[in-house]
Assembly symmetry: none
Homo-oligomer: 131 residues x 4
């Protein structure tokens, strides 16, 4: 479990935790059935209050990503991978729709948007190649 909290991020800590776990499940680095660290343990690792971790876990439980094994801890749900993948795609798509709406409303042309996207993707691929 390699989670990183960025206190500078506008997103609240509990959301950063929840999102990173979703991504870990979606990308397969956290497999169904596997246990997540205990609330107290993760809180210690991230140097945050246990309540904050508990809130992240609670949200994931209500989304059906985590299952409670009473007295033992929380584990990744059997069907969590599919859920997380769908959620991930939906989430990115929604934000992209919103962004495009504002861009077009601000009279940025579709061509400009597409070239922007291509530039950014190329920048990312270059960085990955280097690293």
């Amino acid at each position: 479990m390699f989670l990183q909290i960025d206190p500078g991020d506008a997103a609240p800590i509990y959301e950063q935790i929840a999102r990173q776990i979703q991504f870990a499940v979606a990308s397969g680095s956290l497999a169904p059935g596997e246990m997540v660290p205990s609330v107290r343990e993760l809180a210690r690792q991230l140097a945050v209050n246990p309540n904050t971790v508990a809130r992240a876990y609670r949200e994931l439980q209500s989304q059906g990503v985590l299952d409670a094994q009473r007295g033992l801890g929380l584990s990744v749900a059997a069907d969590a991978v599919e859920k997380c993948r769908q959620q991930r795609a939906t989430w990115i798509r929604e934000r992209l729709i919103h962004l495009v709406g504002e861009a077009l409303h601000a009279k940025v042309s579709p061509r400009q948007l597409q070239s922007m996207l291509q530039d950014i993707i190329q920048t990312h691929s270059r960085q990955e190649t280097q690293s």
Copy 2:
């Protein structure tokens, strides 16, 4: 002044107002020298708290987009167009960079992103054709 406030948007209202005014200046629908509505007047039109409009205007002043005409109100600064255009492009680009970063990190492929963008743009153009 065609401003539309979306209370469901995550962005605070004062920011929505400020941004839309920037966009209006950048796209030429609000020309340098032109007066913007008074705080009270705009607050009435948008049905928001005057404090909220005042805050939006304050931010725009500090950015040099609006100039105070003492006793008369606020007008669009002479060099505002260029500033707003740059800011508009920067702002959209930054958000797109952030979104692409998250998407790639979540293992959404560049191809998927490009086709998503194309879909969304087509949907928008269809809506405009219809309306």
Copy 3:
């Protein structure tokens, strides 16, 4: 807003609050658009910690029963009545299914169950007639 908290109830306080508000919306005594009491106000009335009320409100928000009016408070969502009614029916039905399953498994006959239900309903109607 007449909410009553029963500390003897096994259900947690935040859930009692959330459920009673759902019922109030479903039965029409809390109309869409109406504001619910502020977190601090309701916490004072019920003599509980504001965090507890906030948690109840948060759950209702995530269910789409309450809408945030930023800086002003929370209001009942426009489509909350329908949601609450469905949820209410679903919730009761699920619990009944569970109960019947256990009863039949314990070899209580369907006839016994039906007569039990009728008895209980009659008892309730008698109480209402008296009061």
Copy 4:
């Protein structure tokens, strides 16, 4: 001993075990004088912690359903059948009263409740016929 533990059930595991044994006694599938499996044996069968089984047995002892045969294990008490039958009826009746109370409070009509019950019973009987 056909016990089935549902980890998804809200009721604690030790309670599920205790209840199912009560039901088995009430319905005659576990006769007075008969020995119940040892704590370790049952824990192995159900794949639960021995402490959990021990707690269930402890509760049943304090209710007089099980008798300790020192050095041998636990057996079903001679007068357990009657006790369990009463308890079974009381328990189901109480939960039904509670559920009906909430349903009526939420303005679900008695007729709806009765037809719900009939539906559920029919569904169960169909499932049994098939299996």
